[in-house]
């Protein structure tokens, strides 16, 4: 071990340092000084995020248990940006709801330990690390979902999440044990070489996949999504829908495209089916929702189906389109959740009907929501259009025209329910619209970053090229 090795694990060590500093601050700051923890946490994490983008490095540690390269570095940095926006948006909520009960720093600690688990998961060189990372990224989120201890529905969301997570991890473990029985190794690099492609391995991998699919909320494993999103605090739902899902997509990508090329044929078929099911069912259920959080939950399920399109090609374009889409989706979805959170925090309303006439009283919030929804639906020239465009290009160049047609039809369906919200906000007149809501400075900063991301990614074409170049080696 020397200093260069420490530099390899920079992301993890930095985040651990942030966690330790905030823990100490929680212990040593007393009484009224504790209100300083929120700006302190945000500042520390901001520094961590900024430092994370510098010098990508490549290498292995702990005898291959931990590995990193430019692409993995990029994935971690994207997750950083997402978490930064989530905690920015949660700042005002934390001060209003959590500070009186003295539970602010634990909120940040839990989010960060979950993020740390994701770092270790995408950097894993061994199935044991994948599994531990998966658990470390899931279990603290269960605590976060149940965080509003005074609300019944928050506790309900927590218990539903942890029981389904437990089921997923038990099934995952069964799968890993079958893979181990067939190959005798947990090391990912050896696993690809040792596999013979027999049915035991296929079954093992399918079981293993269930654990990851649970986090992405693909269709047979999505049933927890709407309940948990509705019950959990909004920032936790935002975290689940973007960060948690993003990390799971990244690890699936690394496993399928980086390590187990033997399974490609089988996997293209399985994912083909899952993509169709997830898109269609997510969209059809989203049509029926009146509660905005549930609607966004089903829209998140449908978007997961779109992400699966990128897996149709294990070439460079497939990888690049997935990462680019995740980046775009991050900004768009967090903007939408940010608006929902602001309105819910100040008025307690979260139905589409309550949003009628919102443009008259809250023009700026409505415009942010409009941009976010148009980007989610994929309307040019916003970033969401290019995200979907590259995914569709991947599918088309791989030659799956039926899938492409279904995806386009689904885009149209999704446009319908996104426009329903827009119509409620802009065209409907309401006798008693929601009052003017003034969001706090942190939330405003978070929304500004999101909007900047949505617009800038739509204009700057260099981003996709840079990601494409990085995807050359996974």
């Amino acid at each position: 071990m020397n200093w260069d090795d420490l530099l390899l694990m920079r992301h993890e060590l930095q985040l651990l340092a942030v966690i330790l500093i905030v823990t100490c601050a929680e212990i040593y700051l007393s009484g009224r000084d504790k209100s300083r923890i929120i700006p302190l946490s945000l500042a520390l994490f901001g520094i961590h995020m900024a430092a994370g983008w510098l010098w990508p490095v490549e290498g292995e540690l702990f005898g291959g248990m931990y590995r990193t390269n430019g692409l993995i570095h990029l994935m971690k940095s994207i997750l950083d940006v997402g978490v930064f926006i989530v905690i920015l948006q949660a700042g005002g909520w934390a001060r209003k709801q959590l500070a009186p009960e003295n539970r602010v720093s634990e909120f940040f600690l839990l989010i960060w330990s979950s993020l740390l688990g994701m770092y270790y998961m995408v950097s894993a060189g061994d199935l044991l690390m994948v599994f531990l990372g998966l658990e470390l990224s899931t279990l603290p989120v269960a605590a976060l979902a149940a965080y509003e201890v005074l609300k019944m529905r928050s506790a309900e969301a927590g218990i539903k999440f942890i029981l389904t997570a437990g089921l997923a991890s038990a099934v995952t473990l069964m799968g890993i044990s079958l893979l181990y029985g067939s190959t005798g190794t947990f090391v990912l690099a050896d696993l690809g070489k040792q596999m013979q492609g027999n049915s035991l391995e296929a079954l093992g991998f399918i079981f293993f996949f269930a654990g990851v699919a649970f986090k992405i909320s693909l269709v047979p494993f999505h049933f927890w999504t709407p309940d948990v999103y509705e019950g959990a605090p909004v920032s936790v739902a935002a975290y689940l829908s973007v960060i948690s899902k993003g990390a799971a997509v990244f690890i699936l990508m690394i496993l399928l495209m980086g390590f187990a090329p033997l399974l490609t044929d089988l996997w293209v078929n399985v994912l083909y089916l899952l993509a169709i099911l997830t898109m269609t069912i997510g969209n059809l259920f989203a049509l029926r929702q009146r509660n905005l959080k549930r609607l966004l939950a089903y829209s998140a399920v449908a978007q997961a189906g779109f992400i699966m399109l990128g897996f149709m090609s294990s070439q460079q374009d497939g990888k690049a389109s997935i990462i680019y889409f995740m980046l775009v989706y991050l900004f768009s979805n967090l903007a939408a959740f940010g608006v929902v959170q602001t309105i819910e925090m100040h008025t307690g309303k979260e139905d589409i009907g309550d949003y009628e006439g919102l443009y008259r009283t809250n023009p700026r919030l409505s415009l942010v929501m409009l941009l976010a929804l148009f980007s989610l639906a994929g309307i040019p020239p916003l970033a969401g259009f290019f995200g979907k465009f590259f995914l569709f290009m991947t599918v088309a160049s791989a030659g799956y025209y039926l899938l492409l047609t279904i995806a386009v039809i689904n885009t149209v369906i999704s446009l319908y329910y996104y426009l329903l919200i827009v119509r409620a906000m802009f065209l409907r007149k309401s006798d008693n619209p929601l009052p003017l809501v003034t969001s706090d400075g942190w939330m405003r900063a978070g929304l500004v970053i999101c909007v900047a991301g949505i617009v800038a990614l739509g204009v700057a074409s260099g981003v996709y090229d840079a990601i494409y170049a990085l995807c050359a080696h996974l």
Binding site: M152, I162, A170, Y180, G184, D227
Partner: protein
């Protein structure tokens, strides 16, 4: 190896145990019993790791160590789940699935 016992017999026991756990997970209505069914499933997987390690790959204690980590993770999961159950119980004085199903569209 256990003299006279083949690998497939151990695997059959662990598989049956896993599926008994699945059955419990699907049919039980009390949150704590669902948690107990989960433990059965996890233990089924743990036996698999140990049996494969002992019978097929005795050169390294990999499977044994994985089972060790599995036990640690299971302990975490149960501790957190029980914390949430107790918090829920304070709200509604019940830990059955029916009472805990208010989130419906």
């Amino acid at each position: 190896m256990i003299p006279g016992v083949s690998l497939i017999e151990i695997l059959t026991v662990s598989t049956l145990m896993f599926f008994i756990g699945v059955y419990g997970f699907l049919t039980r209505k009390n949150l704590i019993t669902i948690l107990m069914s989960l433990e059965l499933m996890l233990n089924g997987a743990a036996i698999n790791f140990v049996a494969f390690n002992k019978y097929l790959y005795p050169g390294q204690p990999n499977g044994q160590l994985f089972a060790l980590f599995l036990i640690a993770v299971a302990a975490c999961e149960v501790a957190l789940a029980i914390a949430i159950v107790i918090n829920l119980y304070r709200k509604i004085k019940a830990v059955d699935v029916e009472q805990v199903n208010t989130l419906k569209h």
